[in-house]
């Protein structure tokens, strides 16, 4: 069976000028990402700022052209498709509900935009479909006539979800969809997404830095560090028995609301990852609490979904 989405050796490198006379430096934002996801599954992508998850999202959406590699949705290469065909396959939901909706458009027009761009539908049909999708995400027809500024953060995120789903895409890419929301609103949005995923059978990529949320929504999890998936495993396995030291550190740093446990010692140094200066060998070794000599020279092998020297027998 063809996977819903397949990513083959995807890479994006930027040349960043340093000062006026400086030599341009190469930033490797995404550095060889591979992934296969079955129809209807949800993949959580976790990582810290600067790990390349936003660039990865832009590559998958076609907002950036990859330096290398390819993204295939339902067997079709996104690079070979035109903008409108791509829009029918994959749609985004962004983090900030205050900058993701055009402030000059009414809510119903925001949701209608992807249908208008496709063409071929009458104005009345477009309006009916938009209102139906808004209804589905819990936005009433009365609210549909308002401007985004008159809505709360949670309502705006519902509108963004309706816009993403109105074309009934195969893939939904959520880039930190609840990070800007309050806890009580986050719960509503997560419930809504779960319900829509179930009903519409959409394959979802869920990018987040919140591991508790990812554990709640994902079937599989990819942990990203300096442009690569350092561990990629089914969610249950990964959370029960993390293999990569970075995954372990990430999981250790999750502050669950359990009093009395104190703040854990994550065990990472204060060396910050820098995508313009990726260390040789294992890219995690300068911060790794269990690094051995080999880690700083050889690239680690892929063992059971994780890239780490310590996993080789």
């Amino acid at each position: 069976m063809t996977p819903a989405i397949e990513i083959r050796n995807l890479a994006k490198r930027f040349n960043v000028k340093q000062g006026f006379f400086g030599k341009p430096r190469e930033v490797r934002a995404v550095d060889g990402v591979n992934l296969r996801l079955e129809e209807g599954a949800t993949l959580g992508i976790v990582g810290e700022s600067g790990c390349g998850k936003s660039t990865l999202a832009k590559l998958i959406l076609g907002l950036l052209a990859p330096t290398e590699g390819d993204v295939l949705v339902a067997g079709q290469s996104l690079g070979a498709l035109d903008r409108r065909a791509r829009a029918r396959l994959i749609q985004p939901v962004f983090q900030d509900p205050f900058s993701s909706l055009n402030p000059r458009r009414r809510v119903v027009d925001v949701v209608a935009m992807p249908l208008v761009a496709q063409g071929g539908l009458s104005g009345a049909e477009i309006r009916a479909q938009s209102l139906a999708m808004l209804e589905r995400v819990g936005i009433s027809a009365e609210m549909a006539g308002r401007y985004p500024a008159q809505l709360s953060g949670g309502q705006r995120q519902r509108v963004a979800i309706a816009r993403a789903l109105v074309l009934r895409p195969r893939i939904l890419l959520c880039d930190e969809p609840t990070s800007a929301l309050d806890v009580s609103v986050q719960a509503q949005i997560l419930n809504l997404l779960a319900e829509l995923r179930r009903d519409m059978g959409i394959t979802t990529l869920f990018i987040s830095h919140n591991l508790a949320v990812v554990e709640h929504v994902a079937d599989a999890v990819a942990v990203m560090y300096l442009g690569r998936f350092v561990e990629y495993a089914p969610a249950k396995e990964l959370f029960a028995a993390p293999r990569h030291p970075y995954t372990r550190a990430l999981l250790a740093s999750v502050l669950t609301p359990e009093p009395g446990l104190g703040v854990p010692d994550v065990g990472l140094g204060d060396a910050m990852p820098d995508p313009s200066n990726i260390p040789p060998g294992c890219r995690f070794h300068p911060r790794c609490p269990v690094a051995i000599a080999r880690c700083s020279t050889e690239a680690p092998p892929l063992v059971g979904g994780a890239e780490c020297h310590l996993l080789t027998p």
Binding site: A187, A212, H216, F239, T256, P257, V263, V266, M272
Partner: protein, 314 residues
């Protein structure tokens, strides 16, 4: 005598009440977390304590005292002598509170010499010592760097070191780790907890993150719609939440292990009410399953050690 005692604080901006009944007591050597969602008045409360409210804000309180000193009649000059000296603050975004035009060292030294006098050399030595203490490698080197040359985590460490320059007794931290990555957040919170224990500081920590609260707080105050609705020790609050809002908030969290993945999360229906002039009573009643006519009147904090502003707790 408590280190900080705030009784019945009210703040209004024109027609809107931002805080309408906050009671916060911070003891020496304890971490008191104020938790709530955006717009609940938690940041305004901390600014009101420091006398840093924007122009046009109207503040009144039954009592507001730091170490027995009444803060209410103090003018701006007297307050600014306390701020940065016996009371220090850390904000969410360190880049806005660090001056980009000066080096880390000169900003830290300035904080010391302004309040305590002494030579610049001595102040710089202390700055270097404190930077080492907050876990910054090569502190001598960092003194000569500008804020933009540091990463977010390092900047927040610098802010903490700067806050400690004058041996404060009370540290007020407003969302100090919200802008940081989870691993950095854990490191910074661990550091704050260590310093707090070693130096016997009173720490007032403002956050929206119940995970942070559970791990660092000794006491918690939950704020909603401008009021402290519940105050208790951390263990007590998480084990036995009394106010319906606190309970609703805890149900919204996806807690690994407690809730099977993919299951429905608890939600709080409805929205925060507009706190216009004349709004009285419980701000949560429009969203509460237990609302009754009595909720429309002003409700006091019931209880002795575990306080709850709810008629059900009467």
């Amino acid at each position: 005598m408590s280190l900080l005692e705030v009784r019945d604080l009210h703040v209004r901006f024109g027609q809107t009440a931002a805080v309408r009944g906050a009671d916060i007591v911070v003891e020496r050597g304890e971490t008191h977390c104020i938790v709530g969602e955006s717009g609940c008045g938690k940041s305004v409360t901390s600014l009101a304590v420091m006398g840093l409210l924007a122009k046009g804000a109207e503040r009144r309180a039954a009592r507001m005292a730091f170490d027995g000193i009444d803060l209410l009649p103090m003018n701006e000059r007297a307050l600014s002598r306390l701020r940065g000296d016996r009371i220090a603050m850390i904000f969410q975004e360190p880049m806005t509170s660090l001056n980009p035009a000066y080096t880390v060292g000169s900003q830290m030294a300035e904080v010391r010499t302004r309040h305590k006098g002494g030579t610049r050399r001595a102040a710089l030595d202390r700055a270097e010592e404190l930077l080492g203490r907050v876990g910054i490698t090569a502190p001598g080197l960092r003194l000569g760097q500008f804020p933009h040359q540091l990463s977010g985590g390092l900047r927040q460490r610098v802010m903490i070191a700067m806050a400690l320059m004058n041996d404060p007794e009370l540290l007020i931290a407003d969302e100090p780790t919200t802008a940081l990555d989870v691993t950095i957040q854990a490191q910074i919170l661990r550091l704050l907890a260590q310093l707090q224990a070693e130096l016997g500081l009173g720490l007032m920590l403002i956050t929206h993150d119940l995970g942070v609260v559970a791990r660092v707080a000794t006491r918690v105050s939950v704020m909603y719609a401008g009021q402290v609705v519940e105050t208790a020790t951390t263990a007590e609050l998480f084990a036995n939440p009394r106010h319906p809002y606190t309970r609703g908030l805890l149900d919204c969290l996806p807690v690994p292990g407690k809730l099977p993945p993919g299951s429905q999360l608890g939600t709080i229906p409805g929205m925060v009410p507009k706190l216009t002039e004349g709004f009285r009573g419980c701000g949560f009643r429009s969203r509460c399953a237990y609302a009754q006519p009595a909720c429309e009147a002003d409700i006091p904090l019931y209880g002795t050690t575990h306080l709850s502003r709810c008629v059900l707790s009467a």
